[in-house]
Amino acid sequence: MSPVSAPPLGGPEPLIDVHAHFHHAGGPRADWAAVNDARFRAGARIGITYHVASVLGSWGFSSPIYFPSPRDVTAGNDAMLAIAEREPACVRAYVTVNPNHTAHAVQEIARCAARGAVGLKLAASRRADDPLLDPVCEAAARHGLPVLHHVWQHRTRDWPTQEISDGVDLAALARRHVGVSFILAHIGGGGDYLHTLPAIADTPNILVDVSGSGVDRGMLDEAILQLGAERILWGCDVTMETGIAKLMGFEAIRLDAGQRRLIRYGNAVRIFPAGSFPLAEPAPA
């Protein structure tokens, strides 16, 4: 790692990672603390101003990652909120819920919003177009939270361990909740983003985050072409080197400074609750 005094790889302007995760002692990994530390270490080197992060229950230890039990949902959210409270300068929390346990989900959104959660994370417990998600999204609307939805880019079949959604499914949900901003997760995170982009192009309350291990050339260009910079958010998920590579990629395809600011932090400042990111506000025009 370069000296602390080295300029951040991502440049000096604010940078918000809207798709981060942390681990905790209730999960299956003995190295959970080292993985969290690595995120902070790399975040400092990149120049990430805010990690907006979630914990998915027990990460599979006592219930499945994408189908967490209510008890694990609560424990995971408590762990996430504790990290946000310990690192108030640079961490913000999503509240994660399992919509199959609807009453618990709605209560959990209220509980965690009161403790400072700034967004709602939906994984793959129930397909996005299912009516069961409506009360959950209504709760998000009441608290002014954007919804980050885990997505498989072009769902051509069921995949193990998830009840996966794609852009078409999320667009159906977003059209029923036009007052809520949705973040379609990780266009680089598996599946065919070339299907996702036209699937959501006409649903303006869906933005995409660029996180994921995929760094296909052409992906960023297509996202800009089909959605515009005002509907793209920066993020890493579990591969931070691909996150910074995409930031460099936006420079390489010659986005202007205003477009890059929107992606770095401006769009996040716009869709998350006011005051969530004081070091990045006000949002650029």
Partner: protein, 253 residues
């Protein structure tokens, strides 16, 4: 630093922006790379890659020695030995092979013959684990990833063999490396184009356990962003930052 995993030409399953040698030279300059070993992407899918190799030699001729050709050779094709000799004469540092696309099993004797012939000619053999993530492939792209068993088999087939394995992840690298003797391990280097960085820190872990000198720089341009391996090295933790990678031009030294 040299990029051992660059290609030119179109990809059959999706549009790839301007995959041309002229653009590649500009990308190398931007990335601070001194040169690249360059394959011909369509040749991986041609039944007979000979015509693709001819295109490759012609396309790269104005750019030598910065862009060095890496032809594809099918060892089940008549007169493949002649293609090896042509590669040597053309100044190729290596040969590419795609056993899964050609539907060879992991222990196919024809691949062993190719690996040994390349070694005898002091040509590395470049094997590609994958061009795209398994989750996004076209329905007709049914070859599957190269297996660890296939790599181990080739690493064991003779002391003169040198393998450059492109686009592998941590699990495959560990499975192959620790499944070989120390002598066999020294016949294999891995490009870093698909290895995860932080927070999982797979690259850092591999540098600690296997050694940075078993890795070479690769990007898989034009399919992937060239910035990713550069970022991966820049994000290494202190204890492994700056460790020198293997020099692909010294694999036979």
């Amino acid at each position: 630093m040299i990029d051992v995993n660059a290609l030119i030409g179109s990809y059959p399953f999706r549009y790839v922006p301007h995959p041309d040698p002229d653009v590649l030279t500009r990308v190398l300059e931007r990335e601070g790379l001194s040169g690249a070993w360059v394959g011909h992407l369509p040749s991986a899918f041609y039944r007979d890659p000979s015509a693709g190799n001819a295109q490759l030699y012609t396309a790269l001729a104005p750019y030598q020695p910065t862009l060095r050709p890496v032809p594809a050779i099918r060892p089940d094709w008549p007169k493949w030995e002649q293609a090896v000799r042509t590669a040597v004469r053309a100044g190729a540092p290596a040969v590419r092979a795609y056993p899964t696309i050609w539907q060879f099993g992991p222990h196919d004797p024809r691949m062993r013959e190719l690996a040994q012939a390349c070694g005898d000619a002091r040509l590395a053999l470049v094997l590609t684990v994958r061009f795209e993530d398994l989750r996004q492939r076209h329905p007709l792209d049914a070859a599957g990833d190269l297996t660890a068993a296939a790599i181990r088999d080739l690493a064991r087939c003779g002391p003169g063999v040198r393998l450059v394995v492109a686009a592998a992840g941590r699990e495959m690298i560990e499975e192959v490396h620790w499944g070989l003797t120390p002598e066999e391990q020294r016949r294999v280097v891995w490009d870093i184009s698909w290895i995860w960085g932080p927070p999982e820190d797979h690259l850092a872990r591999l540098f600690r356990t296997i050694g940075a000198d078993r890795f070479v720089y690769g990007t898989q341009w034009p399919l992937r962003l060239t910035q990713a391996p550069r970022a991966n090295l820049a994000l290494l933790p202190d204890d492994v930052a700056g460790k020198p990678l293997a020099d692909p031009d010294r694999l036979f030294v």
